[in-house]
Amino acid sequence: MDTFLIDGQSVTFEPGENILQAALEADIQIPHFCYHAALGSLGACRLCAVEINPKDSDKNARVVMACLEPAQKGLEVSLSAAAAQQVRRHVIELLMINHPHDCPICDEGGECHLQEMTVACGPSYRRYRGNKRTFPNQDLGPLIHHEMNRCITCYRCTRFYQDYALGNDLGAMRLRNEVYFGRFQDGPLENPFAGNLVEICPTGVFTDAVFRQHFARTWDLKTAPSICPHCSVGCNTLPGARDGTLRRVRNRAHQELNRWFICDRGRYGHQYSEHNTRPLSPRVSGINTDYRSALAAAARKIQAAAERTGGIGSVREDLEGNVMLRSLLNDLKGIFTAFNDPELEAATLTAVSRMQELDNTPHLAALEQIDAALITGDLTVHAPMIDLALRQAWRNGAKLAMLHSSVAPLTQFASTAATVAPREIHDMLTQLYRQISRQPETNDAVTQTIKTIAATLSQARQPLMAGVVETSTAQDIIALAELAKAFEPAAQLIYVLPGPNAYGAALLSAAGDTVSLLKAVERGEVQTLIVAGSDPFSEPRSGARWRVARQKINTLIVLDCIATATAEAADILIPVAAWPERSGTFVNYEGRAQGFSTVFHRPEYLPSTADIISEISRLLENQLCDAASMLQDSFPGFQAPTPGTPGVQISAQHLPIRNNELMQTEPYSSDNGWQAALTSWLGDEPLAGFSPALTELAPPDTALINPESAARASLKSGSSVRLWNSVYSVETCVQINPSVANETIAIPRSMLVRLGIGHGDSLNLEQLV
């Protein structure tokens, strides 16, 4: 590789790199503001001034901007040259003319790029004698605090927000030294990645409004590498805690996953662990007690029930907790499953088995390089950072085709998008398969949409198929996988799984155990049920069944860190440590096992799930080995990945490829042909649901119906309706939304739960007068 010199030090560079990039990669700090690795060079701040001495020429040394000057072999660059230093000093002096110098009360203080640059380059004293220009601030909603006077006009915020995250409600307004970065008018920022403004802004203009409520200086925060528990992407995070409370979460770079950013659920969802309903003391029959008594009570109940014990692990429980619970149930000869819902179990296991089979699941950095994708469902909510990676692919020219039943913000960037009712997705995928493998059935009236999508994918160099497990049936998943296989070589395949450790949970589950357990409970064959980190009562499709079946259970033992409906109904409630309060392992959608560390301890004693199960088994006198050795039994050669490292692909036997004979739930057929679809929003996730800052932004609970279907049923926006199925009903009002498929009623999770139905199930609608 070629090199150039910075003040005598040799620096290697890749062709096409500029001086600043190459220097930063070599860990030589050239002061800069507007350049950002994710956004590239801009040339606006003029802080990165260096002097260059052109070789082989009689030209004089000159000061240039390192971010705009291509690195060249043999070039002599000086950071220390007096001329370059003077420019940098002037730039800082100019930027500080209007700056309020309010570091002592600024949330950025101590981790402020402007402070660092000023100390590094700037004059220590002020020469400017005039008045400062001041700005009003805006109310940008519950997530971000705005303090415009601190702005140095580096344009990073708009470049991130508009160019990178493709948001359109924040931008630069006005001109001269009055450029204003904000919204057209006050109001919450709409982009799901808005929280990154906090980190991308090199000053204290955009700061974390949640952190601000309970602020601590950065040097007082305890931090340790963690993994985001709010979806299956597994973004790397750096939580910060002080005095036994969690204060904030920031991005931690992972070169293949979230490099510089995380989504707003990842940044703000952490409020669940500080929520005032969080269980912090064990409870037996509604009475607070200590761990020793609670565990002893639990052990007695389990002992009494023996093989009539059941266990439910969780897609949001770590590998360690799940494997311990499974082993305990093995010993007891009871049934274990990591899922609450038979269909979700089938869908997740199918998805994992198909990703294992194709062995071609891209990480986020690779996703940015794809040139075409077929996406079914709403990635923005179910895997926000996959959505952000696809936005980058779109910026690079990728064509996105989308099939969706309800709102899916990524459709803004789709070259082809079709709304399809949940139960018709499978048929669409099958038609696409035929079209792509050139076997259109005779008389098969192939729609233009199918033709366009097929053409887009066929012409692509690197097509991607991406689906969302939570809103797919196992059959849909098989169809998408077969479609991926129809390409040569097979297309890349991603299934967004229903939890941060859904992949791991699937590897520890046996197909069909969820339905077996549910039926056993319904038949009264389970006396004691242990639920770890899961909320079967709030499951859309099966929640109603669990709630009824609960009457047949003698003792419900729940281990969790949030006050779920199931936890509220527990006979024995055992609080556990939240994610930043313990260490463990999650396996993300790629099958990448990543470790997380204990960041801090709360004042209360809060063991991990694995610790509690180990203690119960000790009390039962059938001592389990520790989680680590049990994981080695399940996954040959398993070594818990060290937190802070990129993680490892989990070595596991491939799950059997099934064609899904298991799932024969007879769909409830409605009288008037409506299907339910899940419509979600960013905070719709079990943990984040306890984050007040996020829930404040929840859309109103309504039934979304598209204009044609609404017209046919004589419904208008605001019409009051009753939705019902065979047993339950809810009343709500209609909102017209063109992103919803025909004959589909898109409703939030809470309404599905109340109705006891899932995405794709039938329901009835009746207009109320």
């Binding site: 003029r46 730039v91 005039g130 006005r174 001109l175």
Partner: protein, 427 residues
């Protein structure tokens, strides 16, 4: 001298299509269509037509360097943003002869084989812009625009873009952003607009006055055009003269006419004969001062540059010995501080700093270190800004520090303005 730029000019009642054609308008179209585009470019280059938008770059060379093989679509932008203080020549063309603009855009677009042209009109010239749009409709109806215009086989569509109204929109790349509907921040120097301009396509920008010369060059030849100038200049030029003169206005005169003749003959001399000339800006607000000793410099690009200034837009602003040069510079710097696009630090935050210091001096609050500070700040602002706006903005100031050094010192020592003591401000 033969007037070419002002030939059809009528500010009150501009010629409609029929009248324009009856007096020889649109004749250059046939001349042009009989020629190969490369031949037209060659002629324009031979005529030594230099850009009238400020920089004086050879128009023919710019066209040739874009290359005949530039990929389609190719765009031509006619720059009629004219917002520089003291410059009001393009306005005369717009209000007085809209068809002359259209004709020159057609033949220039033909030379460049551009299928689409934009005329970017200063926002405050809205009325003129509407006249221009009307004229375009007339030309379209007459088949002089659109597909196969005038039976030539050449297609051209012209759009008028009425500016949202900021000085920076006159800068070529900021203008491209503005036409695309973006913030009018200038673009990086590389890639150049000639290859990656509007929507990433080859784009050529010329000042409207530059273009209005082209039909005449085509009809009369390069040699004829060169001979219109004097003292080494080529062609004629619209000179704007303003400030302390008897008859401020726009004058079409040979390129190379000496400043003395412009000021004392055509503009009638200083408005008060008792006064003497203090100095003048030769090329608009963003050029260095010239002094009485420069009165015989021919007003053409190279001689003015040799005298240490720039011909710029050929707009002379005259100061007599009752005009405070510090106040003048303050006024101009205020304008530029106000018009900075806000993109880069030296310009955005440096110009207001200069205003603050100049204002202190002008109002009797200057300090002994201020002149060195002005000089120091200007060195960074002039050399380290992102676009040509800021270097131009500090040119009058930088030259005034030298040319009017005593005036500055007097302000600072006496702590008041010698021209107007009432300007004294309490600190």
């Amino acid at each position: 001298m033969e007037a070419i730029l002002t030939r059809h000019l009528d500010q009150d009642n501009p010629q409609n299509l029929a009248a324009y054609q009856a007096t020889g308008g649109y004749r250059s179209l046939n001349t042009a269509f009989d020629l190969k585009p490369e031949k037209i470019i060659e002629t324009v280059e031979a005529a030594n037509l230099r850009g009238r938008g400020g920089a004086g770059f050879s128009c023919g060379m710019k066209w040739r360097l874009r290359g005949a093989d530039a990929p389609s679509p190719r765009y031509l932008v006619c720059n009629l943003d004219e917002s520089e203080p003291g410059t009001f020549k393009d306005r005369y063309l717009l209000y007085g002869a809209p068809h002359a603009i259209i004709e020159s855009v057609i033949v220039s677009a033909f030379a460049l084989q551009a299928e689409r042209a934009f005329i970017f009109v200063r926002g405050e010239y809205a009325k003129g812009g509407h006249r221009l749009i009307q004229a375009i409709r007339e030309a379209e109806t007459a088949g002089l625009l659109g597909r196969n215009l005038g039976g030539s086989g050449f297609d051209l569509h012209i759009d008028v873009h009425l500016s949202g109204g900021r000085y920076i929109c006159g800068e070529e790349t900021a203008q491209i952003n503005a036409i695309e509907g973006k913030r009018p921040n200038p673009r990086p120097k590389i890639p150049r607009p000639s290859t990656h301009g509007l929507w990433g396509q080859p784009t050529t920008t010329n000042n409207v006055e530059t273009l209005v010369n082209v039909p005449h060059i085509l009809m009369n030849g390069a040699e004829w055009f060169r001979r219109l100038g004097i003292n080494g200049g080529c062609g004629t030029k619209l000179f704007c003269i303003s400030g302390k003169v008897k008859h401020p206005g726009v004058f079409e005169l040979p390129c190379g006419t000496p400043a003395r003749e412009l000021i004392y003959k055509h503009a009638g001399g200083l408005d008060n004969d008792e006064r003497t000339l203090l100095g003048f800006l030769p090329g608009g607000a963003s050029t260095p001062f010239l002094l009485p000793q420069h009165l015989d410099v021919p007003m053409d690009f190279d001689p003015v540059a040799e005298a240490g200034s720039r011909l710029g837009t050929g707009s002379l602003i005259i100061l007599d010995d009752t005009t405070c040069p510090i106040e003048t510079v303050l006024n101009l710097t205020r304008f530029f501080a106000r018009e900075s696009c806000g993109f880069c630090t030296p310009c955005r935050d440096g110009l207001p700093y200069l205003v603050q210091i100049l204002n202190a001096i002008a109002t009797g609050n200057g300090s002994a270190d201020d002149l060195a500070l002005l000089d120091e700040l200007c060195s960074t602002i002039a050399t380290q800004s992102f676009c040509a706006f800021a270097p131009g903005a500090v040119m009058p100031l930088v030259s005034s520090l030298k040319d009017f050094h005593e005036h500055y010192e007097q302000h600072i020592i006496t702590q008041r303005c010698p021209f107007d003591a009432s300007r004294k401000e309490a600190v």
